[in-house]
């Protein structure tokens, strides 16, 4: 069993891609069904994109931290930033779609918004 994933990048589109690829590699190293790996990458990418596009909108670019761990029954993935959470507007076409993907595929979703940053933690059942 490979170790927990714990990696960070700058909140920009290029590092978002690298974080996603790193997660993909980590997931491929675990004995997980393809369907689950697809779902986890889809949802995590949306959480990372949310941080890249919104967290540091009126401030200097900051970091995005990605962690993932595997337990016997779960995969838990969290995406954190040190910026400001902005609730999606009511007619948020694309951003609403991104958050919708996260809520559709994860067994549980926790959005922890604090003055010092936001953490979106998603949990997936492996069984």
């Amino acid at each position: 069993m490979s170790r927990n994933l714990n990696i960070s990048g700058w909140a920009n589109a290029e590092h978002a891609v690298r974080l996603r690829h790193t997660l993909q590699t980590w997931l491929d190293d675990h004995d997980l069904p393809e369907e689950l790996r697809i779902d986890i990458v889809l949802a995590t990418n949306e959480a990372i994109s949310n941080a890249v596009e919104h967290a540091y909108r009126d401030q200097p670019p900051g970091v995005v931290l990605l962690t993932a761990r595997r337990t016997v029954e779960h995969v838990v993935v969290s995406v954190s930033d040190q910026g400001t959470w902005r609730p999606p507007p009511a007619d948020s076409g694309n951003r609403g779609r991104g958050l919708g993907i996260i809520r559709a595929v994860a067994a549980t979703v926790d959005v922890d918004t604090r003055p010092g940053g936001t953490t979106i933690t998603t949990c997936y059942l492996t069984g």
Partner: protein, 142 residues
């Protein structure tokens, strides 16, 4: 922080949005002219970094008012909500039935299904099927 934390990527300068890094070519789009219209063969990933290339290619082809514009996603390994949005915009900005999307993999079918876009976009299981279709809606795999 956890004891096994990996350090930050240390190449911050290459990560600026304006930089022309190698990552910017994470997608390739090839336009093929056929009797029925145009096929855009897309390969790579459609995400924050690359989707604008598809948006630009679609806009360019639609200026020629093709009878059919097929967006072939057979070679795409990953599509983010930004990419889905580009497909919706393409669909909405063309005439009825003009934009047709070819999906052959679970990695692309899954997000289309999750977001309800299978009921919005014209999705086909192959390029020939997409080109042969008239303007009636059809679903891949049916």
């Amino acid at each position: 922080m956890a004891p096994d934390e990996t350090p930050l990527f240390d190449d911050r300068s290459s990560g600026q949005a304006s930089g022309g890094s190698a990552h910017a070519d994470g997608v390739e789009i090839e336009a093929e002219r056929v009797d029925e219209g145009v096929v855009l063969h897309v390969s790579g990933d459609l995400d924050l970094l690359t989707t604008s290339a598809l948006t630009d290619a679609v806009a360019q082809e639609l200026r020629g008012s093709p009878a059919a514009l097929v967006i072939d996603l057979s070679g795409v390994g990953f599509i983010a909500s930004r990419g889905l949005e580009a497909l919706v915009i393409a669909h909405q900005s063309a005439g009825e039935g003009v934009v047709r999307v070819v999906v052959t993999t679970r990695a692309i079918m899954r997000p289309l299904s999750l977001t309800g876009l299978l009921g919005v976009l014209r999705v086909y299981e192959s390029v020939p099927a997409a080109l042969a279709a008239d303007t009636e809606p059809e679903r891949s795999g049916s």
